[in-house]
Subunit: 436 residues, 2 copies
């Protein structure tokens, strides 16, 4: 039977319009997992007898937000080490604790992040971590869409490297297309500075063999770029190009330190960039050249990075940071306008991870959708609702969320996961990690 | 009769501790408008028979946030013109609309902002605008603490200038100490670039005569600094110094473009700076040299600026921006640690506007206080709660707010103002402004 949802009197973000108009008022019809109508009124063709009817008054509907880089289970280390120099933070705080993570820790830490993301309007997330079967299980249970990969650090003997590659390949095979198609998989050597060239080449070959995209961290810090030049005589973009990385559909996280030439290379190969403004600021990595990337035609989307370096998973905040910092740093108040920031958080995210049918509220697209409560003081007057989403909204303004036409958040409560239990379990996990 | 509130099992931010510890668990006692006890347990000396008892479990108590620069009534223009070049924004959007503001517009616009601020944990705000009697009325009605001033632009004939000065002086006289002492007043020529030197000198003289502090916009944009040099042969700091401005207790808004010498001058005269990171980024004014100001011993607090250039009044966001952008821009991840950002949003704000008994949770201080709901996914695990306030929290996480020991927000609802009516009236005001 066709499941039908009709939303009347709503305001909807339209981010692809030729007219420059960014929102329309009207009626949306969802059948099963797809948007089948969006217009002024309800056409007679739809059988409305069994439909769920939603009064959209006071709500603004956005495409679900897409978080294109992160390590969800690191929520277990939120606030465990802040305001520290990167190397001390990694060596004294993150790595010793992460080394102790069990699959149970990854399960609960991921669940904590997924609850936060769903409640904040994120309907798709990218996750690069270890014990990825657990992450995939959380996707199955929660209803979230996940682009998942086992991130592999290659600073280890070759047999250990090979085991990691095998695990990454096996995970990608096992889970691609699972959870009603909500899970897609990617192959991901961690970074040029943590993976020897030969190890990266094996991932590239596997990606060709399996017809999968590639993802990696690249040019996050100045020091890492300098080290790459010292070790390989090339900056990271040329290095990855040489290793064949860009011969696959691929996207890189960060891309903070890029030359004009590197930007042109990324554009040439259609490599997308996951911009992580909050993490880059907090870890003092610098400010990515996002206006230049966009001008060059590079697809730039947004990621929170892990919760320990952010420290939340609020994609509204990342969109706002993207809209604000590039104005302040460039001196151009027209850099990254509100609608472009919203595209970065939605449709450009979908392009980044090669999902053709999410990221826009249009007929034929998947019904991945967020309803924001706009009857609140900080959204009054109702002038430009897209502007309000970027410059005034936060995760906590999200009222309802649907993924594949299934409601996963209702009146601010997650319907698919037991938040209270997850909060309890994750607090326990953290305390036990301290003691192990 | 003594009104007594006892908060048990709470966690409290302590920002002045020699130990470096930033939070303690325990019990707080409030008598009337003051904190009379904060410690592990409840001493026997307190008569608890009539006390209101609050279970602090799951709450983190902060000093009320202090917003040291803004124009509250500009909420009526929120989202009316974004992503524009400063001069077009002012000349085509803001000024034509503001010229039409009536006292009723200012009343409702201010009320909208005050609802938003109270619900977001702001207990004191600075306001520089016109029709200030209306702003003062909103302070009386809402229970908020206000540091208020009639901002005077002097680009007009001398008789109009004199009328403005007279109005500013009258307002300052009429309202200083009113609303049970919650209102203090200040004199404020708008900015060196909008006020001729002789006009500024008249304000300085009036401030001496009335023993009041001074406030102004200063060095917000590079262009404005260059114009000052062209017009007066001096950069703004030396210019204001020459006019005697710093001979009064004073604070300036923005201070984005400052030389080392100017920073030293501000420190010498104990001039405080209201840093407005959100507005400075959005209007592309630049990034203020906050780490250098703090190192020089200048008191730096935080302001949202008007809601049309922000576009919300979320002081958690300003604290986070202050903590994040100075790391990213300086390359130093230890710049502005979380506790320092919280001090900027609280006790440094109190110092900025010369309020000796707010801004800290300590015995003897006024009970201006915020309770944040920390039983939420984005605050788990409970590691460093001050870090969580800066890197994870938003206005919407505030559960309760007290000012002078009176509860003004309970379970996220404003007790003193009718939010629904205010939202309706402000929407009407905006629509009528468009038509006038």
């Amino acid at each position: 039977m066709t499941k039908r949802i009709i939303i009347e009197n709503g305001a909807f973000a339209v981010l692809n319009a030729q007219s420059g108009q960014t929102s329309i008022k009207g009626t949306m019809v969802i059948e099963n997992d797809r948007i089948v109508h969006l217009g002024d009124s309800l056409p007679a063709q739809f059988d409305t007898s069994d439909a769920e009817r939603i009064n959209g008054k006071g709500l603004f509907f956005l495409p679900g937000l897409i978080n294109t880089h992160g390590h969800a289970a690191m929520s277990l280390l939120r606030g465990y080490g802040d305001d520290m120099v990167l190397q001390s933070w990694l060596q004294e705080k993150m790595w010793p604790m992460e080394a102790k993570f069990t699959s149970q820790d990854v399960y609960w830490g991921t669940a904590l992040s997924v609850v936060e993301m769903l409640k904040g309007g994120t309907t798709t997330f990218v996750d690069m971590y270890d014990h990825m079967d657990e992450v995939a299980k959380v996707c199955e249970q929660s209803g979230i869409r996940g682009c998942l990969m086992r991130g592999a650090i290659g600073l280890c003997p070759e047999d250990v490297q090979d085991a990691k590659l095998k695990e990454a390949v096996q995970f990608a095979k096992d889970w691609n297309g699972k959870a009603n198609g909500r899970i897609t998989t990617v192959l991901a050597p961690h970074a040029p500075y943590t993976c020897p060239p030969a190890f990266i080449e094996k991932f590239v070959q596997a990606a060709h063999d399996m017809d999968l995209p590639l993802h990696t961290h690249m040019s996050e810090t100045k020091a890492e770029v300098e080290q790459n030049v010292k070790d390989y005589g090339l900056r990271p973009v040329a290095h990855l190009e040489k290793l064949g990385f860009f011969s696959r559909p691929s996207f890189i996280a960060h891309g903070v330190h890029l030359t004009d030439e590197e930007i042109a290379t990324l554009a040439h190969y259609h490599v997308a960039v996951s911009h992580n403004p909050g993490s880059n600021l907090k870890l003092a990595s610098g400010v990515a050249r996002v206006p230049e990337l966009l001008r060059a035609g590079v697809v730039v989307s947004l990621g929170t990075d892990g919760p320990a370096s952010n420290n939340n998973l609020d994609m509204f905040e990342e969109m706002r940071l993207a809209a604000l910092i590039h104005k302040g740093v460039s001196g151009d108040p027209t850099a990254i306008p509100a609608a472009e920031a919203l595209r970065m958080g939605t449709v450009y995210g979908a392009k980044t991870i090669s999902l053709p049918d999410v990221g826009l509220l249009e007929v034929g697209m998947k019904a991945d959708m967020v309803a924001v409560d706009i009857d609140q003081a900080h959204f009054i007057p109702h002038t430009d609702l897209v502007s309000h989403m970027i410059y005034s909204a936060s995760a906590k303004d999200v009222k309802h969320v649907w993924i594949d036409g299934e409601q996963v958040v209702k009146n601010g409560e997650c319907l698919t996961l037991d938040e209270e239990r997850i909060r309890h379990e994750t607090q326990q996990c953290f305390e036990q990690l301290l003691q192990r």
